[in-house]
């Protein structure tokens, strides 16, 4: 039995690492294998908790393992699952540990959307450069929209959702439904025309469409729709698809709502809030008028307090007191004066008495008067035969003059 001849000298053999290194070098340097676009069907999707995603891209005859690192995986805007046709952009690399050639995917789009995304970015960037999406262009929503425009498909669930929410939350409004196509090549022109029909007739408008595939929603990335939204004379709320769907119409709108129902919630206040406001106003009105009346009442009470009869009575009492005091002092003064007069009278009387002839008479002298009452102070005043009266202290003596004797000088 022959032994197998060695193929060469052992030291001429490459190590595995060297071989894979050469392979890797050849792969990474090959210009056709860098920044390559590959289309195929997704299979064997595996998403370990690390955030990295593994899958294979395959067609009928071949497959290639692919890896999406965490940040690239997070940027994928659709559900990565088996059977999805995709276009992947990435670089081919060799992983030495497993000797495996892999496509390191940087971007992944569902099939056909590669062109869509290119168009999306171009339109978005061009309109942004024109200033169509500027924050300064965004108009505030009216507080109480009286007329609300609804640009949507009459056949869609979005219309039903919006009307249901508005009917419940804000039945004060009138809704003008302006029907349009919401998908297909004719949709952009139809949407623009629908805006045209309600321009100037509503306080605010909602552009709505229910959820759908990226292709279904594509009309909302059309430049004509964005321009119709920006040119609309009233603010526009855009609610297209689900929360994760972002269209160029969203950028152009004054407000973006995640869903049509949400748009109906944003466009108007809730009637319950309005009822509360009315109730608050009612309470405030009553409180304020009550306070106002109370303050007037207090003012009147304060004035009335200053007009109290007691105050008047106090003043009368004070006057009476003064009057009484005056009276008393007047009386005292009167008494004093009467007493003085009495005293003076007594003194005068005493002096009078001292000089009175009656006092002299009392000492034994007499006063002689004629019949005619004249005092007989001289012998000449009466002659013999004349009747005279001799007054003494306790009475009088009637007498007749017998003789006149004149005192010799």
């Amino acid at each position: 039995m022959e032994t197998l001849e060695p193929l060469g000298v052992a030291q001429d053999a490459l190590t595995v690492s060297e071989l894979v290194g050469i392979l890797r070098s050849a792969v990474t340097r090959h210009p056709a294998l860098a920044d390559v676009l590959v289309r195929g069907e997704v299979g064997n999707v595996s998403r370990p908790p690390s955030g990295v995603a593994y899958f294979t891209l395959k067609d009928a005859a071949a497959q290639v393992p692919c890896i999406l690192f965490r940040t690239a995986a997070a940027a994928v805007r659709f559900e990565l699952r088996d059977g999805v046709e995709v276009v992947a952009r990435g670089d081919v690399d060799v992983f030495p540990a497993r000797g495996l050639v892999q496509l390191v995917v940087r971007e992944l789009s569902p099939i056909g959307h590669g062109a869509f995304w290119l168009s999306f970015e171009q339109v978005r960037d061009r309109l942004a450069a024109e200033g169509l999406f500027d924050a300064g262009r965004k108009r505030p929503l009216p507080r109480f929209p009286r007329r609300i425009g609804l640009v949507t498909s009459e056949a869609g669930a979005a219309m039903h959702d919006v009307l249901a929410v508005l009917g419940r939350r804000y039945p004060l409004a009138e809704v003008l439904v302006s029907p349009c196509l919401v998908q297909g090549d004719d949709a952009p022109a139809s949407i623009a025309a629908a805006f045209g029909r309600i321009a100037g007739r509503v306080d605010v408008a909602i552009l709505a469409r229910g959820g759908g595939s990226l292709e279904d929603l594509w009309a909302f990335n059309d430049e004509r729709v964005a321009r119709a939204v920006v040119a609309f004379p009233a603010p526009v709320i855009c609610a297209v698809g689900h929360e994760t769907d972002v269209t160029i119409a969203d950028f152009a709108a004054d407000v973006r709502a995640p869903t049509p129902s949400a748009a109906a919630g944003i466009v108007a206040p809730d009637i319950g809030e309005l009822r509360d406001r009315v109730a608050n106003a009612r309470a405030a009105l009553d409180l304020r008028i009550h306070e106002s009346m109370e303050s007037w009442r207090e003012a009147i009470a304060s004035l009335a307090g200053r007009l109290r009869p007691e105050v008047l009575a106090e003043r009368i009492e004070a006057a009476r007191g003064r009057l009484d005091a005056a009276g008393a002092s007047l009386e005292r003064e009167g008494r004093r004066r009467v007493a003085d007069a009495r005293t003076r009278l007594a003194a005068t009387t005493a002096r009078l008495e001292a000089v009175s002839p009656l006092a002299t008479i009392a000492r034994g002298f007499a006063v002689v008067t004629r019949e005619d009452g004249a005092l007989v102070a001289s012998v000449s005043a009466a002659g013999p035969g004349d009747e005279i009266t001799v007054h003494v202290s306790d009475g009088a003596l009637d007498a007749v003059v017998e003789e006149r004797r004149r005192k010799e000088a």
Partner: protein
Amino acid sequence: MTETTFEEALEALESKVEALSAGHLSLADALRTYEEGVALLRVCGERLEEAELRVTRLSGD
């Protein structure tokens, strides 16, 4: 429409409340403001009660 809308009535009502709250009205003005407020309250209440979403469908092209 010449009829006062709910929002007009509500805003007018709230401005009446504000005027009353400021508190420098004469008694006659305060009473008049209050009466006007009560009238507006009635309008607000009526509008809320009679509210029913009106939907007009415009014809498409």
